[in-house]
């Protein structure tokens, strides 16, 4: 369907003035609007995006608030996140209402437009990556299988490895393994508690982000050793697999020197990772 030309021109001009596209307001020559009312529309637009971004990237914004307040405008940094949101609207607004899309776009936008802020806090983008995984876990469509309840978990923990290997499990598609160049699970937790975060730690981190059982569907974060992460990655999301097969896949994928370790270590490492994943909802029972 061809867009009606006058309407298209009117809406384009309004949008350009509203978003200040590319940082340039085309002014009344494009479309005449009362200045106070245009300012109100811009306030509403920025408020909408600010709300969505703070929802989607709660702790990344909390970290930016702290850093920008501490910098107090030094080194050309903005004095607050409002200016960052305004710039985001100028150059990279979202196509949809999706908080996941907005988070993705902002994560790509920030290092490009505010490299000094990212240089000051190099774990910021990794924190956004973790929060994006959190959003994914929160909103993904319902997973196959079911979370084991506490009684079932306790029984498995008290049982033998054979009991665990007899299960058929499925890796929840809502869950993800997140690899970052900085330690951010602890950073997120500190910000959630309202604590002053430690300085960035350039320590590579692998974490699992998963959705717990109903009715709360709480999001679980777990920092994983490489061996444990490999257990979880040995299952394809959404594809049921016998735990015994999962263990065999993991054994086959284990790199040296872990591959040469004794069977008792392998059994313990597998069971530990699998049980943690079952508790968190990363792995679900079929």
């Amino acid at each position: 369907m061809t867009a009606p030309p006058r309407l298209e021109a009117t809406l384009r001009a309004f949008a350009d003035r509203l978003f200040v596209t590319g940082g340039i307001d085309p002014g009344d020559a494009a479309i005449a609007l009362p200045p106070a009312r245009l300012a109100l529309y811009r306030d509403l637009l920025r408020g909408n995006y600010r709300g969505m971004l703070r929802f989607a990237l709660t702790y990344s914004f909390a970290l930016m608030d702290r850093e920008l307040a501490a910098a107090a405008g030094a080194d050309g940094l903005p004095t607050g996140t409002d200016a960052i949101v305004a710039r985001f609207l100028e150059v990279s607004p979202s196509r949809t209402h999706s908080s996941r899309e907005i988070a993705d776009r902002f994560r790509a936008f920030l290092p490009r437009e505010h490299p000094k802020l990212v240089a000051r806090r190099p774990d910021l983008v990794d924190l956004m990556t973790l929060e994006r995984a959190e959003l994914g876990a929160m909103f993904a469509t319902d997973d196959p299988g079911r979370c084991l309840d506490a009684v079932e978990i306790d029984a498995l923990a008290a049982g033998s490895l054979d009991d665990l290997l007899a299960l058929t499990v499925v890796r929840a598609p809502s869950a993800s393994i997140v690899r970052t160049r900085h330690a951010v699970v602890g950073l997120r937790a500190a910000l959630e508690r309202g604590e002053t975060p430690d300085p960035p730690r350039a320590t590579a981190e692998t974490s699992a982000v998963s959705r717990g059982r109903p009715p709360r569907f709480g999001i679980e974060f777990a920092v994983l050793a490489d061996d444990a992460a490999l257990v979880l990655e040995s299952a394809d999301p959404g594809v049921p697999i016998a735990a015994e097969r999962l263990a065999a896949n993991w054994f086959a994928a284990l790199p040296e020197p872990a591959r040469s370790r004794d069977d008792a270590w392998k059994a313990g490492a597998f069971a530990g990772a699998a049980m943690q994943a079952l508790r968190a909802g990363f792995l679900r029972a079929i």
């Binding site: 009606p4 298209e8 949008a15 596209t21 479309i31 529309y41 509403l44 607004p93 209402h97």
Partner: protein, 292 residues
Amino acid sequence: MPTPSRPRNFGLPALGVGVGLRKKHADRIAAERPAMPWFEFTPENYMDRGGRSRAQLMSVAPHYPMSCHGVGLGIGSVDPLDWDYLRSLKRIIRETGALWASDHLCWNRDGGRSSNDLLPLPFTGEAVRHTAKRIRQVREFLELPFLVENVSAYAILPGAEMDEAEFTRAVIEEADCGLLLDVNNCYVNWRNHGTDPKHFFRTVPAHRVGQMHMAGHDDRGDVCVDTHGSPVRDEVWDLFRDALSLTGPTSVLIEWDNDIPEWERLAAEAARAQAIYDDVVGKPIATAGART
């Protein structure tokens, strides 16, 4: 006045006064099933999602009449209709058994930019034809009665060929859709542009009004902003009586989306609306209440 040969309330059930289903109250509503004739949900909060939000919706939907009130369609935009969005919308409508669907007579995106806001359309014949054509497409795709809501505006775009009431009437008649009459928005536009709400009520065809919205706004003196974050103001309650006297029995919804109060306060606001409703039009024809 309604045309006698045409069904009132756009042929929809007149459910009396309900409230919006919001996360804050969803668990309690599911557990206690309070007396409330119906609920309206915002599909964008649930579409293509699982987890807690979806579980909350699906724990309430089987027990009450529901309507689906979107905020993301942007029906007057010139960007192509988002068919992925519409397919998701149709799925959630079917899953919840919503009795009707609605969205706003506005635009919200251009050139791939989403404002996530309800922006005013120019009151032109070109916009009428464009918007009505798209409403027809949406209505036919959803296979459900479809209403559009008049929106609050803070500017009237240049080039208007008619007023808001005439524009609204033209769109809904050409689209053959219903109107979700937001009484607060009429008041807000009155304050912001001097457009008389009673002229609006009398210009739009009363038989096409399938639902009403009542909400609070922020009066900043030189401008009123539609916030949905406070009680309905007295001036809007007065207009509600006028509107009801023209439409007759319908379904009315209290919208309280920001600074959402405790359930008891929200229910009291709905009860106030219901008392006025009963006084003006009598008890609802099809009172539903919680299904057991």
